[in-house]
Amino acid sequence: MEIKVCGPGCANCTKAENIVREAVAAAGVDAEILKISDFAEIAKLGVLSTPAIVINGQIKCVGKVPAKNEVLAWLKEKNC
């Protein structure tokens, strides 16, 4: 599984990344977490507002820091 956290590096983007890391650790799934801070790449993914979470190429949330529960739910979707 590949998880992309998009954000130029403001406080909320870092928060989002940490939450994703925590969730991945808690779920014990094998996932590669990439922090995307290049604007061109962010835009190519179709993201307009950061922070955004993209899992396996599918945008899960934009413009907000997700709750850990939300991330855990996304991780489960992909696992079954």
Binding site: C6, G7, P8, G9, C10, A11, N12, C13, K15, S37, D38, F39, A40, I42, A43, K44, L45, G46, V47, L48, S49, T50, P51, Q58, I59, K60, C61, V62, G63, K64, V65, P66, A67, N69, E70, A73
Partner: protein, 372 residues
């Protein structure tokens, strides 16, 4: 790749107003009719209590200053302290209420939806729509670049995109609430109207100038696709939680600036002699408007900190136009945002952007000084 990452680090960590979606946790339970009823009762009671407390604030601050702290009536310190004790709870209460309502309204708008509305719109209509949507679309200045790219590559005209980017920070709910609370609804309405006009007209002018070639080439080569973003279908419960999250997030972030701003304002209120500001910021000083705009650009403050200061300045004889121009310049033209936008716009374009928006603000300043 490496040098690109280096370049990214140059962006200053500006105070970012991205919504913190903590409370948007998925509560998948559908509320029953009983629960809705209960929520409505609770909210009505809350609003009633809010008004009750709000109306007592003035007498309470007087009581606290002169009876509890037993400061002398008419003293500098007494004036400053009662100003502070009245304005702080008043402003914080107003902020809480309005941010809650705006937070709920904002759950209906996303940048993606706004883009869909704006794509392919004609320029004049598009500029007006963009400025209006700039008020209600949740937007954070760190997202300015992806948003810019997303808008422009999806066929939103450059001028329309810029109308959005000007209006979004300039006409914000915090500024309006504070202006309303401290200076009355007329000043707030004037600010809302002229702020929108500056955003609409400067976007339109830049559109007329045909500046498209001053967008960095790599932006125009991009293909983006925003239809991949899931449309958020929220329940009312989630929307109310969105409002609550906005209050916790925004008030949690700005309360310190509000208090600092009110403290400075209180100092000016208590100690600066009446009419002192008239000589340097009054109507007679023609140069004060451009000076206010120029000084405002490098200053980066949110509306929360600047309005209480403005309130006090006005009291001491500063002209309304000069003061509004200063405020618009501080919150709409900020150096950090220009640095971020430089990633996608060439220097000439940044220059034109500052010049056009700055002239608009200047006009607003002179207009008010002349009319009022």
């Amino acid at each position: 790749m490496l040098d690109k990452e280096e370049a990214m680090k140059e962006i200053p960590p500006i105070s970012c107003s991205c919504p913190d979606g903590k409370s948007m946790e998925n509560k998948a339970v559908k509320p029953g009719a009983g629960q809705i009823f209960y929520t409505i009762i609770l909210m009505a009671a809350g609003v009633a209590l809010w008004f009750l407390i709000y109306r007592q604030l003035s007498s309470f601050s007087v009581f606290l200053t002169y009876s509890v702290l037993s400061l002398r009536q008419g003293s500098h310190l007494g004036a400053a302290v009662s100003f502070f004790l009245y304005d702080t709870p008043k402003v914080l209460m107003l902020l809480g209420l309005v941010i809650y309502v705006v937070g709920i309204i904002r759950t209906f708008f996303t940048p993606e939806r706004t883009r869909k509305i704006l794509a392919g719109k004609r320029e004049s209509v598009g500029n007006i729509l963009a400025a209006l949507l700039g008020i209600v679309t949740p937007f954070c200045s760190c997202s300015a670049v992806p948003l810019f790219i997303g808008f422009v590559t999806a066929g939103v005209p450059l001028g329309v995109t810029l109308s959005f980017l000007v209006a979004a920070p300039m006409v914000n709910e915090i500024a309006l609430v504070l202006l309303y609370g401290l200076l009355g609804w007329k000043v707030a309405a004037l600010y809302l109207f002229t702020g929108l006009m500056v955003a609409i007209v400067s976007g339109w002018i830049i559109g007329r100038l045909g500046m498209e070639r001053h967008i960095e080439e790599w932006v125009l080569e991009l293909r983006t696709n925003a239809d991949t973003v899931p449309d958020n279908k929220l329940t009312w419960n989630e929307r109310l939680n969105g409002g609550k999250a906005a209050v916790v997030d925004i008030v949690g972030r700005v309360w310190i600036y509000v208090i600092a701003g009110i403290a400075v304002g209180a100092g000016i209120h208590g100690y600066v002699p009446e009419g002192f500001m008239a000589t340097i910021m009054g109507k007679g000083a023609w140069w004060s408007v451009p000076a206010a705009v120029v000084i405002g650009i490098p200053m980066y403050s949110n509306a929360a900190g600047i309005v209480p200061v403005i309130h006090a300045l006005l009291e001491k004889g500063a002209a309304l136009g000069t003061v509004l121009a200063f405020m618009m310049s501080v919150i709409a033209l900020s150096l950090p945002e220009m640095v971020i936008l430089r990633k996608v716009l060439k220097p000439a374009m940044i220059g034109v952007f500052i010049a056009v928006v700055g002239s608009g603000i200047l006009l607003v300043g002179y207009l008010f000084n002349m009319v009022i």
